[in-house]
Amino acid sequence: MNKLDLPIIEFTDEQVKFRKEVRKFLEDARDSGTFESKCDSWLSGYDPEFSRKIGSQGWIGMTWPKKYGGSEQSAIERYIVIEELLAIGAPVAAHWFADRQTGPLFLRYGTEKQKEFFLPKITEGSCYFSLGMSEPNSGSDLASISTRAEKTDGGWILNGSKTWTSGAHHSHYMIVLCRTAPKDPKYRHGGMSQIIVDLTSPGVSIRPIKFLTGEKHFNEVFFENVFVSEENIVGTEGDGWKQNMQELAYERSGPERMLSTFPLLGELISVLRENNDKQGLKETMKLVARLNSFRLMSLGVAQYLEEGKDVSIAAALVKDLGTKFEKDIAETARLIISSVPSVHSRKQFEKYLAQSILHSPGFTLRGGTTEILRGIVSKGMIAE
């Protein structure tokens, strides 16, 4: 069935060399104490100084045009950098969404002014975005959102609230999906738009919601008569749903959908090798085979995305399989090595294991739940 045939990506020698350079840079940074490796660091590792460092390496907005601060590299070079950042568990949360999603959104739909204003700052690693989609009453059923913007002189007045917004408490801006026309039951996906909200605007209040670990990652964000300039609409008024859905293919198929707990897997192998535990290694290598397969899928999707092909089914499958896999690493690790997982442990293994277990509920929820993804896959497979 050709819906499921993906291209096989082969890295060139230059790309392999480039990967080694990136790795060396990151290992040096970690070893000199610039950061501490962590699982799920793309959600929980907030470090603006590190983001600026990455920016000055040219590793944010890598595929974007040079005139906006990018370095016009291919999607594969970007993929390599992202993989290295995740594999080592570097703190990339601050700039993550801007690099992955908002920048490409601007490049696709933004005005020249928006591109000139935002993109260079994003690539420097000093301008952070969060994604305002979910609301208290609209999770999986995103089309039911009720946050709305009403036309006023020179712009919009925004009212409503968003929730679960990752990193909003650290971000400068939020891309808010909101209604710009009343709900129409006959056309559920119409009447929505994407607007840029400056989070320092009067009327915006941000309240962190403690994650189950007690840490602060996501937030409730309230908009009370917030004025948004008409220049801040992204793309076409009323096309917000379509634009937002296009972003999701990027959101769903990246390496962060399988590598969130990779530091634990790497550590597991190290410990097993030290212990000369062949049986444990055997079980672990079964996980590695799966990871290899999902990684090849994700790379194939990245290639097809760059070629402009429709990969919505494969992208959803990458996330479905990859995020379940992230959880399975922790479940396998804890059975292979008896330990007392704790985020305060002096043993790296126990620390990573604790981080992985505690963060695991989010893996299969954020970015569209497994159940919703499977619905998308199934409908795609049924369609002729």
Partner: protein, 358 residues
Amino acid sequence: MSEMHELILDSTTKILKDICTKELVDKSEEGQWAGDLWEVLVESGITSIGVPESTGGTGGDFVDAFHILRLAGKYAVPLPLSETLIVNWLLAGYGVIPQEEPVTFELNSKLQLEKNDAGFLVNGALENVSWARNAKKILVLASLEEETFVTLLPLEDAYIENNNNLAGEPIDTVVFEDVMVNDIETYIVEENTLQEKVIDLGGLSKAAMMSGALDKVLELSVQYIKEREQFGRPLHKLQAIQQHIAVLSGETIAALTITNKAIDSYDKGTTDNEIAYAKLKVNESAGIVAEIAHQIHGAIGATHEHQLHHLTRRLWAWRDQFGNENFWAEKLAEKIMDSQSQTLWEMMTEEQMIETMQ
């Protein structure tokens, strides 16, 4: 991938669609040799694909060849195609013209040869030999005095005890008891190197065939949930069924992708752990897919009448041939144990550079 890749696959698909029907596969399982299909495969050059034209083969590369095996799996071809191809590939290395008759191999055990005036006396038993009862010759390891070599022996005078795998394919026991052969060609080998090569070729062949079978199982399942209605609507409208189809699709795409990578690297001569990863993952997917597909199909899928079992029984049989999950995982474990200086991430990402390999 050779220039004729698409062409070869299209014509193979056409042949198999026309000839390799459910009835043919059923008959084969009842013991009837699918000779007509074999003739067509030989005539169209499929049994010697991947053997260079200069050695009398069809040419084409291993990408072509393994994709043909994927089709063979998809159509449940009841013939020793992969066995014959593997023998032809191994012997092509010694400049031997490809066999047109069906042949098989067993290279794990060793036969004893004794030279006398008339020729050679062969003794020894081989187990689980695929398609022995239908094959004309068998490639074996044999030792004569101090020397070990491979040789292609006729099967006509061997005693064959029939046995079948879960899919009803022959996996016979072959006994040579003072069998006289007049003349043999011997090819010197290093035993371990040969066995490594055979397990790789066998593992990859089975992974390719299983990918094809997985692909077909998914196709049948999608078709079924569109047609079958319960509670006044097609099954695919039911969420539980949608979840099943998504899992099936996921396991299938994972298996296809990793197998394609292994095929690619084998063809380029850069194979490192790719075949191990592929066979391991495909085996795992096979179990999941077979279970779900049967669940989706309800009772009809568990009947002999329905086509599904031709594929699911092959998946169950093939996942244990040329290495189950534990076999390949152990190989990988030894590998990572032996390369202490490399982290897992290095092992996963440092692809063999092609220049240095050649």
